[in-house]
């Protein structure tokens, strides 16, 4: 790829201000505010029905908002139609026009904006070359592979040099291997062109891999917003700990005593770090790879192997403990435990996350 090209030098970001979307009695998006700064890639992440796609479509202008304000590049666009906003969207289905070839698809936006045919072709060829699609101009979308279709869709959106580029689950129609490669390409493209991107996905791994910022949505509201590391290491609720990555969740009680903070569940107490969490009912969240296997008799908790799944790079165990079944990822694949073997489990206090309350 050639030297870094700046495209959004005039464009600002997106401001979403107290936006609500109601379908009759159902509130799909409830008083949501966030900001996307220029040249950032922000992911909207959440389970299906959480309102992330509705939010994206409101930015695009494909859904009218019920109340609130949307600004793009410092301009209030709340009441503008989709074709009057400086955004482009890459659809989940790619939405390539099946009756037009690749070149006509990519030229469609410039021609709609009143740019001359020659100019539109020049712009389209440049973008197609940039995405490695040179030579495919005369093909119909149905004659392309899934990955190529996806790149045509990206080229078609980029050719208008929009202030904001929107991706709606762009990888869901690709197979697993291709997905990893394409998400890297999208990230590289975004960083090399300084694009402002809003990206919707339900795949937490994808979100962590590509984003500057992740906004986790749940039932129409923002559950938490932050960098991928913040979300992974310091989830703010049981829902978040469970949704982002795997987590063992134990309900119990946080006690402040002379030795410091202690988490207690089912008569087993372990030392934890829980600054700012009030004593009382609490939930402990530990990532499976932060749990360490010990020989039987050692460790914080006694354990018995219930199930073991050998995955090559690691072994996934389900261990029966006084805290219930715990999921443990162990890298020691040389001598795995067998079903029924006794063992112990421990973890470092700083590796456990303590959340107030039980839900």
């Amino acid at each position: 790829m050639n030297a870094k090209v700046h495209m959004n030098n005039t464009a600002g970001g997106v401001v979403f201000e107290r936006v609500t979307k109601r379908y009759n009695d159902v509130v799909a998006v409830d008083d949501v505010s966030f900001e996307v700064r220029p040249a950032q890639l922000v992911t909207l992440l959440g389970p299906s029905g959480c309102g992330k796609t509705t939010t994206l479509r409101m930015v695009a202008g494909l859904e009218p908002v019920t109340s609130g304000r949307i600004m793009i590049g410092g301009v209030d666009v709340t009441h503008r139609a989709a074709n009057e906003r400086d955004v482009s969207m890459v659809f989940q289905s790619y939405a390539l026009f099946p009756h037009m070839n690749v070149l006509d698809n990519v030229c469609y936006g410039p021609l709609s904006s009143g740019i001359s045919k020659a100019k539109a072709r020049e712009l389209a060829h440049a973008k197609l070359a940039m995405l490695g699609l040179a030579g495919l101009e005369a093909r119909l979308p149905s004659e392309l592979s899934g990955g190529q279709q996806q790149r045509v869709a990206v080229a078609r959106s980029l050719v208008l040099e929009p202030a904001v580029l929107l991706f709606d689950e762009p990888l869901s129609n690709l197979d697993a291997k291709l997905r990893r490669r394409v998400r890297q390409e999208i990230r590289e493209l975004q960083q090399s062109l300084d694009l402002t991107v809003i990206y919707v996905t339900h795949d937490q791994e994808e979100a962590l891999a590509v984003s500057d910022q992740v906004i986790v949505m749940d039932r129409g509201v923002i559950a938490q917003q932050g960098s991928p590391a913040e979300l992974y290491d310091a989830p703010r609720s049981r829902f978040l700990a469970d949704f982002i990555g795997d987590a063992n969740l134990v309900t119990g009680e946080l006690i402040h005593d002379t030795s410091g903070q202690v988490f207690r569940a089912n008569d087993v107490s372990v030392p934890v770090r829980a600054d700012g969490v009030p004593p009382g009912p609490a939930t402990l969240a530990v990532r499976p790879h932060r749990l360490i296997l010990t020989p039987a008799g050692a460790g914080l908790l006694p354990a018995e192997c219930r199930r073991a799944a050998y995955l090559g790079s690691r072994v996934e165990y389900v261990l029966g403990t006084p805290w219930g079944d715990l999921l443990v990822f162990d890298a020691g694949v040389q001598s795995p435990l067998a079903r029924g073997d006794a063992a112990g489990v421990q973890f470092r206090p700083e590796d456990a996350i303590v959340l107030a309350g039980h839900s």
Binding site: M1, E84, L96, I115
Partner: protein, 718 residues
Amino acid sequence: MATPLTAARLPAPRTGAAPRDLTTPLFAALALAAFALVPWAMSGGPSAIALLAGHAAKWPKYAAVVSLAPVVVASVLALVSSWVGAARLTAMFAGVALAWAFAQGFYAGANGPAFGLGATIALSALTVCLARALGRLGLFAGNATIATIVVVIGVLLLLFIFYPIGSALVAAFQDAKGNFAPHLVGERLFTEDIWGLGCFGGGTRCGVAINSALLATIVGLLSMLLGLALALVVQRGGQRYAGLMKVMSVLPVITPPFVVALALVVLFGRTGLITSWLEYVGIPRSRWIYGLPGVAIAQLITFTPISFMLLHGALHAISPALEEAAQTLRASRGRVFRTVTWPLLRPALANAFLLAAVESLADFGNPIVLAGNFEVLSTKIFFAVAGAQYDAGRAAVLAIVLLGLTLLAFFLQQRWVGRASYVTVSGKGDGGAPAQLPGKLWRGCLGIAGAFIVFTLMCYAVILTGGFVKDIGRGDMTPSFRHFLDGFRVEWASHGLFFSGSAWDSLFTTIQVAAVSAPLTAVVGLLSAYVITRHRFAGRRAFEFLTLVSFAVPGTVIGVSYIVAFNIAPLELTGGMAILVLCFVFRNMPVGVRSGVAALAQIDKTLDEASATLRASTWRTLLRVVTPLLRSAILVTLVFSFTRAMTAVSAVIFLATAKYNLSTVYIINRVEAGEYPLAIVYSTVLMLFMLAVLLLMQKFIGEAKLGRRGPGVVVAAQ
């Protein structure tokens, strides 16, 4: 590789308020131009502003001022407010101008001038202004284009479906002089003529409504059973009977609605071929064919293909796996049919029954040829206004009764069938062969189907040969082109070709009317389908209902309504060609809506959205994305509305005139005059013409289907 790109090479991103709307003031200006320049009235003469300035036509000046000044002033105000972008004021002034224009027109009625070209242009432009302003105000999802489509089509439907039917309702309350006379409704409605039950009690005859209902029930039931037998034979008989399917799907499309009746008269009339033959065997000649038996047989042959198509579809949708499952559970062939196939078919059977009953109620062509003394509603309505006894009030009451019966049938269909359909269409088809029928049932079906086919073939054979023999009515089968030349003679005259045959005029008019109305039907129908399927807005359901309503209204009712409504100013259309076109467009529109809705369901909605996010306007999306993908649906709609316009008779028989005569009306008149051979030869020409049109379409659509690539998306050939 790529040259560096900068935002400066593209138009700067628009900032501030949404871009200025110049289209609305343009339409307001168009309205004003029409006021100033184009003759206001249908009879020509001065424009609206000239009328105001004193060039009075047939009405006094003060009347012109009162009628038109407010319209012109409101239009000027609408122009000004749309220019400055005040949507609320624009909507208000355009609305006032429209309301006043229509109000004065209807108030003046026959005393005022009929709306002419100027009025049409101005009022259309004002409707667009109103619609766009409403869109700008946030109605219709805030999309001015969608608002325009919905409002314009809605206004047209109100004017050309609801206003005429409403006028007919009102006419039922008026006496011969047009005075309001509510007591007449009761007198007209509750008479022995309509509701009499004499024929059941040993008396001579029943009321006309009872006759119609009786006929509809008989035809509904029998054509349901016939259709089922045929469908079973075709669906379970394998490839051998597939040709039958093709014939059955084409026949109703190309057959004018009185052809079968004509054939029956030729075969079974007093001097008919079979009647004469029977006389040799000792069965005396009689007029049995004129009356209930004849009409019922004619309608059975005409409408059974419709029930057949419906039931064939339903049979096809029953997954063979269900029947195979029953077989593996030890059920015999008879038991499989009784416990699985038949129950699954029941909703479709009810549907077929009601559809055939509705068709029978609305049918005009068969009864007018065959009914004799057995009077039915559709023909009775016609004679109430067509004969010497012009009685619009009576026709209106009869039309209301017919409409009521039809709506009752549709209501029953919704109640019985609406939710009870078991037929599910899923993408994944189970393999497997459909179960074989029990032996007795199979032989029975085969026998019935065979008899039906033979009888139908006989009818069509009579039509195809009857025009080319000396006198088929009296059994003289000497080949002769005399009748054909009577109708379709072409001569070389001094100034070139001269179409001297008596049928040419009506044929040319018919083709012209059909050719004008078909594209209009397609545009109106498919635009409605697009709006209904692709856009969410308040009132969408109501709009969908409006677009489909005319489907439920029998043609005779529409015909009589048009006569009542469009005979006087301000909408004085009778006698012209426009009313024929309008009648076809709004009667056939539901076909366009339904094929459009079906086709759009196959096209991913995100294509439209992608187009919108790529800065395309709604019109551009429609033109560049939706239209190319709808190619097949457009062709189907064009051909269907064309052939329907060529074969329709029930509504247009009220509207055709000596100057603008239509083929079907011409043929009916020949039948009335007893000139059967000419009627038959004309029918043959019509059917062959439409067969050619149909084959031509299949060639086009066939190519379009070859170009289909990728699943789920209809791709037009390049």
